[in-house]
Structures are given as C-alpha cells and as structure tokens.
C-alpha cells in the first residue's frame, strides 16, 4: 500500500477562515488511513519554505510515496510542491494539489458545509494520486527565432531587446510602417518629450537591425505548433513596389494625382496619396500602393508613379505572398483602437464640426500634422478662445466600456498644457475623478493647475449648439453639472476635445482565436496571472505586451515589451523546455485497429500502421487533450496524468466511497 501524506494549508485566514483545517487534516489521517494516509498535517502557509520543508521531512522520515496538498489552485502552486517533492527524492508527479481555496473557502459561506466539501475534495485527491505513476517531464527544443506581432512601441521594444541579445526576430506590422499610435502623437506626458524625437531613433534601429526582419503591410494568417516549435504563416500583402529597387525618394507620391483622406495615421484630419508612406519618418521608407484607391487599378490608366519612378521600382503585377516562418516564441503587441465617438450622439461628434477626438487633436497639434501644429478650428484659420476637454468618453460607462482607459486624465492635462501654451485659450477639463498615479504625473497636474486650467468635476451631459443667449451664439455649449457646487452649468466653448476610450482592436477576438488565446469580456487578452505573470498567457511560448492586455500608457507599454522579450529570451537561452508529460499512448496488444481515434486528433498525432493494423501516437505531436483516450472502444489508449483509473478513483473519492466509517478520529 502507498504511504500518503495529506497537508492542509490555512493560507492565513483565506482558507482557515471558512474551513476547519485542523478537522480536515485529522479526518484524513483517521478516515482515510485505510487508503494509505499515514499523516495529516495543517500549516499556516504550506507554500512557505517552512511548509515545504515539512513535506520534505515527512517524505524522508516517514517514507511517503504520495503527497496530497490541499491549498490553492494548482495553476498557482502545483510546481512549488512538485519541486519540494523532487528535492526530497520523490517523483514530482506523485504529488497532487487540490484546491480548497478558489473552489471552497472563497466561494462558500457556511463553515460546516465548506469543511465537509474540503474533506471530499481531499479524499478525491488521495484516490487520484494513488493511481498516479511516476513520470518524467518531456523535453522539447526551443527554436531561437521569435515572432513579434505588432510594430507599435511595445513590439519595437520587444524586438530590439531580443535582437540586441543576438537572436533573430520577425516583426510583423499590418500598416505600411512601424510606429503605431505613438508615431501619431505630438508630445508625451508628463515630460512633454516630442514623441517623434524619442520614437524615430527606435524605429530606425528596428528597421536596420541585422537580427530583425521587418514584415510590414503583412498579417499573420495561421499559427501551428507549440512552445519552442511554432510555424506561422504570414501574408505579405502586395505593395506594388519593388523594395529592393525603391530608394524612398518620394517622387511617386509627389506625382500621384489621387488624394485620399487618411483615416489611419491622420485620423481623418489630413490627406495622403494613393501611393504613400503614412508619414515622413516611416520605417521602412518604401511606400505602398493603396489598391482600392489607385486610379490605375480602378480605371486601368494612370501609372504616373511608374512613369516618374527613377529606379523603376513600381510593379503593378505584384501579388500577395504567403511565407512561413519557424519560431520558438511569439510576442503579441497588437495595441488598441479608439472608441467611436459617434456612439455618444449627445456629444455631437460628426454633427458639430469643432467637436474632435483626442487622436484628431494629437494630429492637430502635431508639427507634422495637417495644420503644422497650429491649433485651429475647422475653418482652418481661427484660433479657439475657449477649449473643453471631456474625460471618460466611452470609458467608465456601463453603456459603453466599464473600465477606465487609464491614460485620459494625463492626456487631458497634456492637451490643456498644449492649448494653453499655443493659443492662450481658456481650457476646461471636465472629469469624474482625476487619476494621476505614477512617477511625475501628480507634479504635472500641479503644473497645469498653476497654468490656470479650469477643472470642473462633472461628467459632461451634452454638447450642443442651441444658444439661449448672446454669449452662447455661435458657440459649442457644454452642459454639465459642476458637482462640487451642485449647479448645472452651460459653458460656451469654441472647441471640444473628446478623450475617447481605448478599446481592443476590432478584430482582437479573431486574433486571439488564431493564436489560441482568450479575451476577457471586454476584449482585452487575458494574461496568465494579473499580478505575477502579466505578460505570459495560458499558452506556453506566447506572450503579450502593451495595450493588447489592457489600456496603459507608454512607460508601462515599454516595460511590458521588455518584459515579454525577457521571458522569450529566457526560453531561448535554456534551449529546451520541460513539458508536462501528459500524453496519450496506445497499448498495441489491445488495439483492434478500428481507427476511430485516427480522425479525432486535431494535431495529426495518431498514425495507423497498415502492416500491424494498429494505431500509434507520436508523443512529440500529441498535446495531451485525451479525446482519443475517451473515444477508444477497446480501452487501448491511456493518457498519463489523467488515466481512466485516476479519474474513476477520484470520482469515488469525491463521493466518499473510500471512507473508513469505523475509524476513530485522532
């Protein structure tokens, strides 16, 4: 018979507050003695080094052959206790962690019932571990190349970190240039560094780095494989420009007769040509031809770009190209979209010309923007005398997005400063709460207060143009309650800037699915642990960085980009990784050759030997889902770690069929 040790964790009062841990430990030691339990202990924090030593000591002194720890979720500490067992010479897979915190103490309210449930859960764990067999982790090699998806500041940072460490990176970006949202900004808070000045060098570095292969105007279409061994299929959209010949001289877009409103980079505030690079400092510097807007593609004639190109780089016959790359790790940094302000009709966006979004304002005050950085009204000549900045547009609102977009308060302060500095206008910030956490932010708030910006605490109810008196005529009227005085105010303004929410990319859900990840209800990608593992995901070898995980500012985005790179580099350096050895295998003698399992495997891990008329599972391809195990009519397939014996025994255990009713509690 096995010698089993049962350890019940208090987790401070997290468990002990709702479960009588002492009773559970004593109950296991007495009632489950017939099943081999030789010791039942409880301890304040089993995961502490003292708690682990307790297990190690018992393994050595009592000769335990199995260990059950009743504590938190296995997703948190399974590895901790397995490692402890290993140190004491016990095969780590002979340790079972059952959750009595997430699944018992935190979700139930009656101590009696919770304690009874904890006993059942322990009993199930005991039965399951009895049928566990010693296993050795599987080792797989890690391909040293990395795929970074998204060429904003997060992706650039991650790519540079890895490339600088000496490893190859494929940096995929769907727009013609890397740079992302940051490239659209004028200044960055709280230091007011010029965004282009700090971003452009990084873009150039990424564009020229020998270890970085830039794949702009491209998208990842398909991902196969697993940690260390992913295969990604990337669509390189036709640029209609031969990149090996193009020098980026700019003659083509100078000569192109077709003007197009630029909805992406200029946020609809400016125009570009049908052949274009989104902005002057674009990396790479060669342009793309925007096929749906190109006169040649629409009407069959024009080719002005081709005629004038000094290096004959234009090629209208190009087609999309599919390439596959082998990588060991993937970093997703796909960023965010902004909230569509039309959805809040009462703010008048789209109806009232001088109501603009924050991204539009970024372009308006950007020196390389449509007005060369002059803050002007829609007429293109008048400087505003009074400007309102509306916070929380589409954020902190259950009708739209419940979350706080994190950057708007600081962005509002930045805008206030810029408007003040460049126009001398009166500036109003309409806010619900000012949130200026992090370094230098509160100081910036103080500075803007000193500059004389008005702060009105109240969520703007509406913006309209229905004047009620002379002062209001021809103005935008912001109607808002100044909640600090409790009075409804009507404030006539010339320009209203809506701080629109950051939202997940419109296609975030499809992207998540393509990479086998999941999104929260909001659409942000879910990290492995919100505090302790914010850049890893549930899928080993795939990391997330920047706003794909949730709204954040540039410093936090850069931190995540670097962190994700560090995680990937760790894997690359280790050269191989140990995987859970949970794999299915066929017992040849029992296999009847019915081939039912063959079609079930989505990873093509099952092959059929025609000569022997039996199926065989390729352990390297098997992912361990166990579907074939459940389907085999002959019971010839077994799955390690989750064998039929284990699950059936656990059911008995959970239903307390194994309990010795005559045992006396100790």
């Amino acid at each position: 018979m096995e010698k089993i040790g049962v350890y019940v964790c208090h987790c401070g009062t997290n468990i002990a507050g709702m479960v009588d841990v002492q009773e559970v430990a004593e109950w296991a030691a007495s009632r489950l003695k017939v099943r081999g339990v030789v010791i039942g202990r409880e301890y304040k924090f089993m995961c502490s080094s003292l708690g682990q030593e307790l297990i190690e000591k018992d393994i050595k002194e009592l000769g335990l052959t199995r260990v059950v720890v009743a504590a938190c979720s296995p997703h948190l500490h399974e590895n901790t206790f397995r490692t402890a067992c290993k140190r004491a010479g016990l095969n780590p897979y002979l340790c079972e962690l059952v959750s009595i915190r997430e699944q018992v103490s935190w979700v139930h309210t009656d101590k009696d019932v919770a304690t009874a449930k904890a006993m059942a859960v322990v009993s199930g764990g005991v039965e399951r571990v009895i049928h566990q067999v010693p296993l050795e982790p599987m080792k797989v090699s890690i391909h040293p190349d990395t795929l970074v998806v998204g060429g904003g500041i997060a992706g650039i940072q991650a790519a540079l970190e890895i490339a600088d460490a000496g490893y190859k990176v494929y940096l995929v970006e769907r727009e013609p240039s890397i740079g992302g949202h940051m490239a659209q900004f004028d200044k960055t808070f709280p230091t007011l560094d010029c965004a282009a000045c700090i971003l452009t060098p990084k873009m150039v570095q990424a564009g020229t780095h020998p270890n970085i292969e830039l794949l702009t105007w491209s998208e990842v279409e398909k991902v196969d494989g697993y940690v260390g061994n992913f295969t990604a299929t990337i669509r390189k959209r036709a640029r209609y420009v031969k990149t090996d010949l193009c020098t980026g001289c700019g003659i083509c877009w100078e000569k192109c007769p077709k003007k197009v409103v630029d909805d992406v980079f200029e946020a609809g505030m400016g125009t570009r040509k049908a052949v274009y690079t989104p902005f002057a400092q674009a990396v790479p510097r060669y342009p793309v031809i925007d096929r749906p807007n190109c006169t040649y593609f629409l009407k069959g004639t024009c080719k002005a770009c081709e005629k004038f190109c000094p290096t004959a780089a234009i090629d209208f016959t190009q087609e999309d190209e599919l390439i596959t790359v082998e990588v060991g790790n993937i970093i997703l940094a796909i960023g965010y979209d902004t909230f569509d302000a039309h959805r809040i009709a009462q703010y008048g966006y789209g109806r009232l010309p001088n109501v603009i979004t924050s991204i539009e304002f970024e372009r308006l005050c950007n020196a390389s923007g449509p007005t060369n950085g002059e803050i002007l009204l829609k007429d293109g000549k008048t400087k505003p005398k009074a400007v309102g900045i509306v916070h929380c547009v589409g954020s902190r609102d259950k009708n739209y997005n419940e979350y706080c977009s994190a950057i708007c308060c600081m962005q509002g302060l930045k805008f206030a400063h810029l408007v003040h500095e460049r126009t001398g206008a009166e500036v109003y910030n309409f806010y619900i709460d000012m949130r200026t956490a992090f370094k230098g932010y509160e100081e910036f708030y103080q500075r803007v207060l000193e500059e004389g910006t008005h702060f009105i605490r109240g969520k703007v109810a509406e913006v309209n143009n229905a004047a009620r008196n002379k002062d209001e005529e021809g103005k935008l009227i912001v109607q808002v309650e100044d909640t600090l005085v409790g009075v409804q105010m009507r404030i006539p303004l010339d320009m209203v800037i809506l701080s629109v929410a950051l939202e997940p990319r419109h296609d975030a859900k499809e992207t998540a699915k393509r990479f086998g990840l999941s999104c929260s209800a909001d659409g942000w990608f879910i990290e492995k642990h919100p505090k302790l593992d914010p850049v890893a995901t549930m899928t080993e070898g795939i990391y997330i960085a920047g706003c794909v995980q949730g709204p954040k500012d540039i410093p936090a985005t850069v931190v995540q980009g670097a962190a994700a790179a560090a995680r990937a580099l760790g894997k690359i350096h280790a050269k191989e990784i140990a995987l859970e050895p949970f794999r299915a295998s066929v017992t040849e003698a029992q296999c009847s050759g019915c081939r039912i399992c063959n079609d079930l495997c989505p990873f093509n891990a099952i092959l059929f030997h025609e000569d022997k008329m039996v199926s065989e599972i390729n352990a390297a391809l098997c992912q361990g889902c166990g579907t074939c195990v459940a389907a085999c009519p002959a019971g010839a397939i077994s799955g390690t770690g989750f064998s039929n014996e284990q699950v059936l025994a656990q059911i008995e255990g959970l239903l307390l069929l194994n309990v010795d009713k005559n045992a006396v509690p100790v």
Partner: protein
C-alpha cells in the same frame, strides 16, 4: 431525504484545464459565491470526458453531473469540445433509456473570463437537480450506496 427542501444534491463537475477550471479559479479570486454542492474534477479538455465517468458518478451517488469546457471555437485543442458536445447528447439519450432524467447532466461553456457565469450556472444547476430530487441510482442491494455527507457532522458521524 425525499423532502426537496432539505435535500442537498451532490454534483460532480468536470472542468477543462484551460477555460472552465480557470473560470472556477476566477470565481474564487473574485469571491463570487455559489452553491457548495458541486465537486470538481480537472481534465485537460472536455474532449477527455469518457461517458463512463458520468455513469460512474451517477451510479456511485451523485445526483447530477455538470460538464464544462471552452466555448465552441475557443478550444485549446482546436475543436475537441465539439466532441464533448456530441457525447453529451449521446449520454443524455442513453440516460433516458436507462430511466434517468436527462436533466441530471448539464453542459456549460465557460471561458477563463467567465467566473461569474460559472458560479451562476452551478447554482442554477443545483436548483434544477434539487427539483428533480435524489437519484439513488444503483442504491439497491448490490449497487453502490449514496455516500454524500452534506455537513461536517454527517461526515464525522
């Protein structure tokens, strides 16, 4: 025992490692309360669910079985939850043939983000099974006996 007001059903719940087990974890970390009648078993995937597990649980004293997995299209193993779905329908038919209410087996999709949904589904399933009453399947002379203890006192008795 036959009084439905005091009858506390016991439910065995199967969860997949990637979505629904994490949904249960999330219900825990967000302290969402739900009925304590469910006891969970972790599988790597809902596709691993062998119908034998369900029959075994019901025969050994469970009053209901809840099967949970990733949403269709979100399976960690691409499409194996569809196989669980197919088996689920077969199982219900089989149970009906055996004279057991098919409502004792329930299939719930819960993503890792749906802790609240997981909790809600558990609680409502417990009420559904409570309404059906105790199963006592296989409780005859040779069958396994119901061995559920709803409180600590019963467990210790």
């Amino acid at each position: 025992m036959n009084n439905n007001d005091t009858f506390e059903p016991v439910i065995i719940g199967f969860t997949c490692n990637w979505c629904s087990y994490r949904a249960a974890d999330l219900a825990g970390t967000s302290r969402t309360k739900y009925a304590p009648n469910v006891r969970l078993i972790r599988l790597m995937c809902s596709g691993r669910l062998d119908p034998t597990f369900v029959f075994k649980a019901l025969a050994n004293g469970a009053d209901g079985v809840m099967i949970t997995g990733c949403h269709p299209g979100e399976c960690h193993y691409i499409e194996q939850n569809y196989k669980a779905l197919r088996r689920f329908h077969l199982m219900r038919r089989t149970l009906q043939g055996l004279g057991v209410e098919p409502g004792r087996v329930k299939l719930v999709w819960a993503s890792a983000a749906e802790g609240a949904k997981f909790a809600r589904e558990v609680t409502s399933f417990v009420e559904e099974v409570r309404a059906l009453g105790p199963l006592n399947w296989g409780a005859g002379e040779n069958g396994p006996v119901t061995a559920y203890h709803s409180t600590r006192q019963e467990a210790l008795a």
